[in-house]
């Protein structure tokens, strides 16, 4: 009898696991359960669809026929309501039971709602699924004014969508700059200028006290804590994710801001694995538990999880992630964990070019590059090598920096 694998979630983590299992365990029974109504699509590109830059078709990655062709039993619109790790089975909302030899949880997260009045009003959007993107596109196309909340990597997508669709927007931020945990004001100002050029005005030290709605329950304005009122036909909220751990609340699975896994993507239950946004994983590069929501990381975690579901211990997850913003005429890239560390160095290296590197115990743990991405590979290499650069941080800020520059300096010492 062949091994049976059940995967909950058909995002890139779940889908890459299914692909790997099929390639490396040709006789296995593979079932993919997803609560979404469509199979794997490109989550990175749905913002381009909402901007009106891409048609729907290129967003799809796996047609349903892919699952048939690869003998994978795909169940769309299927909500898992119970995981029974004692009896190796999951149950769905329709009462169906799927037994497994190994289970993969690639169950991701759900956008957080602002804890303020009328936060669930019509016209207030969160951005996570393709279906969200369709609603946002429809809503923004009929809007003249918008409010955006959430000064991070997802919130700026709303700014870009408004800019691309000619909607005048106020971008309300709690601090004095966009993504203040990873950027200084100097770096963030490059982003602010790009937003302003597209009709999106950053509003600092602000936020939302409550939303106002019309008689039909549609949002008409956001009111900040000081009583300032910002009229809007549309609001985009991106303040973070709640990880979908409620599904495992009644199981012995360890959770800590997600499902805890080791470097092999295995939970504290031997035949249960997790991958993607949902994991709090043992980050071998960082040397501590970490989270990561990037596409590349999720894809790699799905692949690694699958290999270890087939043979535990076969391959560890060791990855330096990166996430780019490509909305503007200059590139932006964050890598590793730019909000962590005990020290940092930053510099403006040319007009419109800025970089910051975060360090922990003298080693690079992450950073941000604006305008010039050329040191990306060098910084990632230094992270993977765990190189102590504490006495040479000035070199990291040199235009054209390469790892060899550092080695030469080290040899000279």
């Amino acid at each position: 009898m062949s091994d049976s694998y059940v995967i909950i979630g058909d995002g890139i983590a779940g889908a890459s696991a299914a692909e790997t299992l099929r390639e490396e365990a040709p006789d296995a029974e593979i079932t993919v359960l997803t609560d979404e109504g469509e199979s794997l699509y490109n989550r990175i590109l749905i913002k381009e669809y909402a901007k009106g830059k891409l048609p729907e078709a290129p967003i799809s990655i796996h047609q349903e026929s892919w699952y048939e062709d690869h003998d994978v039993d795909l169940r769309l619109n299927t909500v898992v309501v119970d995981i029974d790790v004692e009896n190796d089975a999951v149950r769905t909302h329709e009462g169906e039971t799927f037994e497994y030899d190994s289970l993969l949880l690639a169950i991701g997260g759900t956008p957080q709602q602002l804890p303020v009045g009328n936060a669930d009003a019509d016209g207030i959007h969160h951005f996570w699924t393709f279906q969200d993107a369709r609603k946002i596109k429809e809503s923004v196309e009929g809007a003249e004014k918008a409010v955006i909340v959430g000064a991070g990597l997802l919130g700026i997508d709303f700014a870009a969508i408004c800019g691309a669709q000619g909607v005048e927007a106020k971008y309300l931020m709690r601090g004095d700059c966009w993504w203040r945990y990873a950027l200084s004001e100097e770096g963030a100002e490059i982003m602010h200028d790009a937003m302003r050029e597209r009709g999106v005005e950053p509003v600092f030290d602000s936020g939302v006290d409550h939303f106002e709605v019309d008689d039909e329950g549609h949002v008409t304005a956001a009111v900040d804590p000081s009583g300032e009122r910002y009229e809007c036909d549309f609001a985009g909220v991106a303040i973070g994710l709640d990880f979908n751990t409620e599904l495992v609340e009644d199981t012995p699975l360890e959770t800590e801001d997600g499902i805890v896994v080791d470097e092999f993507m295995r939970t504290n239950v031997d035949n249960v694995f997790a991958a993607g946004d949902i994991t709090t994983f043992n980050d071998l590069v960082l040397g501590e538990r970490a989270k990561n929501g990037s596409w590349g990381s999720a894809k790699e975690q799905g692949t690694i999880a699958a290999r270890n579901m087939i043979e535990h211990g076969s391959e560890a997850f060791e990855w330096v992630s990166s996430y780019s913003i490509t909305h503007f005429d200059f590139p932006f890239l964050s890598f590793g964990h730019p909000t962590l560390g005990d020290d940092s160095v930053e510099a403006t290296t040319a007009e419109g070019e800025w970089r910051r590197v975060a360090l922990k115990d003298g080693k690079i743990v992450g950073g941000v590059l604006i305008g010039d991405l050329s040191p990306q590979s060098a910084f990632k290499q230094l992270m993977r090598e765990g190189r102590d650069v504490s006495d040479q941080t000035d070199l990291l800020m040199e235009p054209g920096f390469a790892v060899d520059d550092l080695a030469a300096t080290t040899e000279q010492q």
């Binding site: 490109n42 830059k53 048609p55 729907e56 290129p58 990166s322 780019s324 590139p331």
Partner: protein
């Protein structure tokens, strides 16, 4: 998957429209080696050896949309 001709070089040409049947790749989906090539070629009249991660006709989303031409 189509067989590749050896020793082809690729360039990126900015494109204003993306057809429904195009394969579109975002910069973040590409392997690190291909990302370097995309950064080098985007917006410049240069060529580089074809990479495994991109095919002729693919569209890449970087700071703009670029179509891959491999010859």
């Amino acid at each position: 998957m189509s067989l590749r001709e050896a020793n082809r070089r690729m360039r990126l040409r900015r494109t204003g429209t993306v057809s429904a049947d195009a394969r579109v790749r975002h910069y973040d989906e590409l392997d690190e080696e291909t990302q370097v090539v995309v950064r080098e070629l985007a917006g410049r009249p240069r060529t580089a050896p074809e990479t495994d991660d991109l095919d002729d006709g693919d569209v890449v989303k970087f700071t703009d949309y670029y179509q891959v031409r491999a010859r």
